[in-house]
Subunit: 134 residues, 2 copies
Amino acid sequence: MATQQLTKNQSLVLDALTHAEGPLSAYTILDKLRDHGFRAPLQVYRALDKLLEFGLIHRLESMNSFVACAHPDHHHHHDHGVTAFAICEDCGQVTEMHDEGMEERLSVLASKQHFKTEKTTIEIRGHCQNCTAE
Amino acid sequence: MATQQLTKNQSLVLDALTHAEGPLSAYTILDKLRDHGFRAPLQVYRALDKLLEFGLIHRLESMNSFVACAHPDHHHHHDHGVTAFAICEDCGQVTEMHDEGMEERLSVLASKQHFKTEKTTIEIRGHCQNCTAE
DNA sequence: TCAATTGCGTTATGCTATAACGTGTGGCAT
DNA sequence: ATGCCACACGTTATAGCATAACGCAATTGA
């Protein structure tokens, strides 16, 4: 299963996210890509939907924005487990975290309620190391 | 520290959420309260902000909606730790969950990054017990 | 009394996301 | 080749979520 072949629009959107300092909103991406022929929000949203599907980007629910996936292993576009995000409210930097123990706790919590999990969102808002230094 | 005295608007919004089956969006609340004199979104959002501050309601980031807090002990409006929400995509029901082990894992994760946590969002989307029964 | 604070109401605006329509292209079975 | 299908694309319009900015009224406290 080779790396998914991306369309022009999808590549442009992924590049924008990859080269960005932090998460971008769909409309910010639109503005960045106007010079490349983007005119309407749907062009961005359609590309974002596909990139999410391929596992190449993440959506940050707490800020209606998107980030490129930090993982280098983009060869399999199946889940690599639950991802937690640490989002710095000062500099906007996002750190992607994975933890087996946490997945285990979540799994236990869900099964206690007989709840069938489809997708899990974990977002920690706060201040990163750099921005905490006074 | 007695229970916070609420204004008329705040009470109306809290009542709407308390009596609702599931989470409500701000505009849905607005519609429900038109008969009580509500005319504009800001009337709702201002009440929601205060209720969030008092810890009487929660915001569900993944669906831009709000729910009444399930806790009976509304006397202290400080944090009662991290809350995880199980959100059923079929019936919309929301279950509030608290778990010490979970908080511990998150705390460890954050400290590994030297990250200072302000607020944590955990939302599990899926299907509740009732809606899973075929 | 006067100033400061807080909640309120209103209008206007901005940001986020999708519906609905039509076009073009490439694969592929007939 | 022809016809069909799936998919990406472009465009316009609209729906849904959230806040800025203004001014008024009531409350509190020096």
